[in-house]
Structures are given as C-alpha cells and as structure tokens.
Amino acid sequence: MNYEFNWMAVLTGEYRDWIIQGLMVTLKISAISIVLSLLLGTIVTTLRMTKIRVVEWICLSYIEFFRNTPLLVQIFFWYFGSYVILPEAVNQWLYAHDYEFAIGVVSLTVYTAAFIAEEIRSGIISIPKEQMESSRATGLSFIQSMSFVVLPQAFRIVIPTLISQFLNLIKNSSLVMTIGVMDLTYMTRQIESYSFRGFEAFTVATLLYIAISLIVSFAITVYNRKYLRMIKY
C-alpha cells in the first residue's frame, strides 16, 4: 500500500476548522431534534391513550407509517415536497432562513418521535392501572393525572431505551448531508474531495461518532446502576 498518512493535514488549519464546524452542526441538529421528538413522542402517546377511536387510529397509523419507511426517503419527501404540504407563508419564511437545517430537524424529529412514542407507551403500560384510576378518583383530569402521576413514573423506566433512541438519532443525523446540511459527515466528504485525505478525515469522523456514542452508553450504564435499582413495585 503506497498511501502516505498525513494526519496533520486534517488535524490542523482549515480542515480542522471544518471538522469542528461539522461536529457543532451535528450536535446542534441532534440536540434540537432530541428535544422536539421527545415532545412530539409524548404528545402522540398521550393522545393514543385517550381511548378515542379516531385519535387512536390516527396516532397508530402515524407511528406505523414513519417507523416503516426509510429516513432518507422521508428527508427527500420533506425537502422536495414541503411546498405542497406546508402553507405558502411558512415556506417563504423557511426559504429566507436556513431551509435545509429546518427540513433536517423536521424529518429527524418526525422519524424519531414515532419510535419514542412506542417506547414511552411500553413504559406507560408497565405502570399499574391503579395509578391512573386512583388519580382520576382523587379528582384529577386525564391530562393532569397523565402529566403528574403516570408519565413521571413511565419516563424513569424508559430512560435507558430513550437514550439509545437518541443515540440512533445522532447517528441518523448523518443523513441530512444528502440535502446539504453541513454536518460532520458532509464536512468529511468535503475534505475528502478537496484533499484526497479520505483515510484521515473518515477516521477522525468515525472516532468522533464513536466517542459520542461511548459517552452516551457509559451514561446509560451509570444511570442503570444508580437509579434503576430503586424502582420497585
């Protein structure tokens, strides 16, 4: 193999700045999508628990449809098709601002929320029915007993699986490069085509992704050891 390694090419100067910029975009888009998908997922699950047929059916078809289609197709759908679905004013506003980034956030959020909704649901099911019944009996409304009694308990149980969903989201966020969001993978690709330093750039990017996921899975282990034991029924 006649390949000359030149790590300094990637770790100094302009290319290093590109990698750092890309990492920041990856972290930013992941963080925003995590918060939004957690919100959307919780809302969808709560709606699914209302026992109203139509609402339940809509939520279920949302979950099944978005879980069973590739994220890449969804990204393209939002990216190319947003002008059909969204109102004109919203589109104009998006075009004026960071359109690609917004579409990236939307598609990651909608995709991940479908998975998160199922995780939260399995958490809620594991909470004894009596919790809901007794809080309703003490005079709380459905929404109140959901948000003060059932969901806080359910979240504590599903946190480890939620975190692994967030981990998937961070890895999936690499797909937004296809619509031109300049994330870590995009920058790596760009360094490759500018300098032919593919080995070095891909190694650095891979190590960064692995570092993120190792930190997160370490956090899960610590959490499991510390808190999960305390939950007993």
Binding site: T69, P70, L71, L72, G81, K171, L175, T185, Y209
Partner: protein, 247 residues
C-alpha cells in the same frame, strides 16, 4: 397533482432498466437486503459466539468490532468501503458490491448482539448436559444450544431485516441505482411531481416493511407460546380475570 409521472415510471421504480440493463429499483433494494442479511447472519454468528467466549483474546476483538460498528453511522461505513476498499484491494470495486459489504459488516454487529442474547436465554443446564453426555463444546453448541436459541431469535432477525431493508436506501449516496436513487433520478428529470414520487416510494417501502413487521409480531406471539416451563400468556390473563372483584 401529477400522478401520471409516477405511473409512467413505475416499471423503472420496480425493476430499473432490467430487461435492457442491470437490475435496479426495488428489485435491487431487495437483493441488497437479502444478500446483506445472509452475510450478516454468518458474521453475526461468529462474532456472537466469540463474544461469549471465556478467553479474553477471543472476546475482546469481538467486543471492539461490535462497539465500533454500533457507534458508527452506516453512512460513514458505506464511505469507508467505497473509498478505501479499492485502495486496499488495489482494484476497483463496483458500488453495489461495496455497499453490500458495508451492509453485511454493519448488520453483522447487530446480529452478533441478537445471537448473544439468544444463546444467553437458553438455560446453562442445556450446555452442561450436552457436555456431560460426551459432546464437545462445538458439538453441544451446534446440535443442542443453537437450534433452540435460533428459534427464539427469529423475530429479532426479521426486525433486523426490516431495518436493513430501510437502510438499503443509503446506497443512494454512492450512486447505486436502487429504489431511492431511481426516485431521485425521475424527480430530477421531471421536476414537477416531487411530493407524488416520494409518497409513492415511501408507500412501496412501507408495504414491504410493515408486512415484515407484522410477520415478526405474529412469530413472536406464536413462538412465545411454545416456550416450555412458562405459563402461557392466555392462561395468565384467564387467571387475572378470575381474580377480579365482582361488580
């Protein structure tokens, strides 16, 4: 809406240029997924067994492989194979083949974890009994533990196959002409029906993946009844019903 664009190109979506050229579209996606899961099964079986070994020099390489692959986005792995395989092999590698390699290596790490969980779910006594009846470790594994473990793993395998089918869309990025690539090509050519095209593609993926998901749910239910030594779920429900306070 321009649904005629979709109908006119349906054959291209499903088969690519097949009779006149190489297989593409949905057919190629499915071929990639089936090929990927086939190689991933053998890779996963080997590394899953290595992961359970008592010898550290066998176990550690397997842990490193599994953790690195599970921490890396598939997209980066595809780039790794696409850009670096030709340098290592010193000859060009077709796109479809290099993505197939990436899919196999990627899914293999997940299959290894499924295999590990499946084997661990079999009571240790099975292996001990096999060993004490005179079988070697590999014989005991191959004819006693694995046949039981593999049956339990079937639903997880189907789920993994579903996510691999979805992941074949990433082959788009290096120019493999599978379903997603065919869709973007038609979209770039026609320019007037992006929403229709991508809805159709999404529905095609959905039909396949949803069908498989339902199959895995059915299998999970059916296989969980068969597990010996446990009360059936139905019986538990019956018991619970009979203990309910009269109204």
């Amino acid at each position: 809406m321009h649904w005629d664009v979709v109908w006119n190109n349906m054959e291209y979506f499903l088969l690519g240029q097949y009779p006149d050229g190489p297989v593409g579209g949905l057919a190629l996606s499915i071929l990639l997924a089936i090929g990927g899961i086939f190689f991933a099964f053998w890779i996963g079986l080997v590394f899953g067994l290595m992961r359970l070994s008592k010898r550290w020099y066998v176990r550690i390489p397997s842990i490193i492989y599994i953790e690195i692959i599970r921490g890396t986005p598939l997209l980066l792995l595809i780039f790794w194979f696409y850009f670096l395989a030709p340098i290592l092999l010193k000859r060009p590698m077709p796109e479809a083949r290099s993505t197939l390699a990436a899919f196999s290596v990627f899914t293999g790490a997940y299959v290894a974890e499924i295999v590990r969980a499946g084997i661990q779910s079999i009571p240790r006594g099975q292996m001990e009994a096999a060993r004490s009846s005179g079988l070697t470790y590999f014989q005991g594994m191959a004819s006693v533990v694995l046949p039981q473990a593999l049956r339990n793993m079937i639903p997880s395998f189907v789920n993994q196959f579903v996510s691999l089918t979805k992941d074949t869309s990433l082959a788009f990025i290096i120019g493999v002409l599978e379903l997603t690539r065919a869709a973007t090509q038609v979209n770039n050519r026609t320019m007037n029906a992006p929403a229709e095209i991508f809805i159709t593609i999404a529905v095609i993926y959905f039909i396949i993946c949803f069908g498989l998901t339902q199959t895995s749910r059915y299998l999970e239910k059916k296989l969980s009844y068969k597990t010996s030594g446990k009360i059936r779920r139905e019986q538990i429900e019956l018991l619970e019903d009979s203990f309910e306070t009269p109204k």
